[in-house]
Symmetry: C2
Subunit: 228 residues, 2 copies
């Protein structure tokens, strides 16, 4: 599929590219289909290019030297993946694992770097995005340091609801299959604690579950529980 059509989707970083740049992008990019469990790259790998998600879900996580996994984020349609390593010119600081069959475009490093050096508005949009992500990461650090597990869990549910939620009459359905273990890796906690919190949140009618999908049914309650 030519970029000219494809780029209308997504977060718009590449929206303002002129035609000739777009065709150059077309020529050097490649698309690939990934299945659940595959990885785009591993922590420590060199960065060879930028990944752009056309469809699917990708989990970005960091592993510490004791093997604990900390989920940074879950990216979806229209998100870019791997740009941090490209830009800082370091190995990937984290791993990108496909958690739902995905179609992903790959843009080689040289093409990407040339693109941003020649097209300032696109470069600026990317800078903006990283700056926003930096603020968010620092905010999460503050949360992690000072909030207890219950508050962090409520917070994560709200964040997932915003990015991956489908609003229905019933509530906001988080459209991700997440095991208790995975949820625990989000908030830096244990599987067992997450289980007890889910039970509690259901009892307090903040959430329900339907076929492994968590549904947020009381946003104000969750916001209050998150301590915001």
């Amino acid at each position: 599929m030519p970029c000219a059509q494809c780029n209308k989707r997504g977060d718009g970083v590449f929206c303002t590219l002129p035609e000739n740049t777009l065709s150059h992008l077309d020529a050097s990019k490649s698309a690939h289909q990934y299945e659940t469990g595959q990885t785009l790259f591993h922590q420590g790998n060199d960065a060879y290019g930028l990944y752009y998600i056309q469809a699917g879900k990708i989990k970005i996580y960091e592993t510490d030297n004791e093997g604990n996994q900390q989920i940074i984020k879950i990216s979806g349609e229209g998100d870019m993946v791997g740009y941090d390593a490209l830009l800082s010119n370091t190995p990937h600081p984290n791993t990108a694992e496909v958690i739902e069959a995905s179609k992903v475009c790959f843009i080689p490093k040289s093409t990407f770097l040339q693109l941003i050096s020649e097209h300032a508005p696109t470069h600026f949009k990317i800078t903006q995005q990283i700056a926003r992500e930096l603020s968010e990461a620092q905010h999460r650090l503050t949360q992690m340091a000072h909030k207890n597990v219950r508050e962090r869990f409520a917070e994560v549910l709200l964040r997932l609801g915003e990015k991956h939620g489908l609003k229905t009459a019933q509530g906001t359905i988080i459209q991700l299959h997440l095991s208790r273990q995975t949820l625990a890796e989000f908030i830096g906690s244990s599987q067992e604690s997450v289980i007890r919190l889910v039970t509690e949140f259901k009892r307090d009618e903040l959430i329900t579950e339907d076929e492994h999908f968590i549904i947020l049914i009381n946003m104000p309650g969750l916001i209050k529980t998150s301590g915001a």
Copy 2:
């Protein structure tokens, strides 16, 4: 002082600017002296420009809604402050407080944005720096989530040693006056816990103190204690 001379110091982001841009910078910038306790900006303030530290130390911290302060970093000579808000076009997500008498240059937002839009190499250097900072923030998140207070404290001492340390025969002197409370705000802990850790680390001959300056005297031991 003209930028042409001044910029030779610092981290080199503005190194490669051509003469005419540099003189424009000269014309619109202003320098100011700040005393301990003053702030450059408060969390929630709009961003009016970029701050460039010529001398001194500035503490960047985020305050949560319960009043807990989480220190993001301590910036010193040659560091830029406040660029995240400028670039993401949001209010400052944190507060910049002077902790040691400082001389700071101020570059208005419009000048800065024009500068990076016209001079791609400088823009790219800034993007690189933010990307690196993003990686670091995400790494700290992982640390905060999975390491205990002792490990985090050792880690913070090492990080401070790298950025603000003076290597002597005696060891690495951290050239900052930091109260126990401030150290606690770094690692997301309590004053009392830090006190007990300092006592312990001294007993184990990892550190000593001289006039409120912490001196790292056993780097390998600290690295081991940090769990790396």
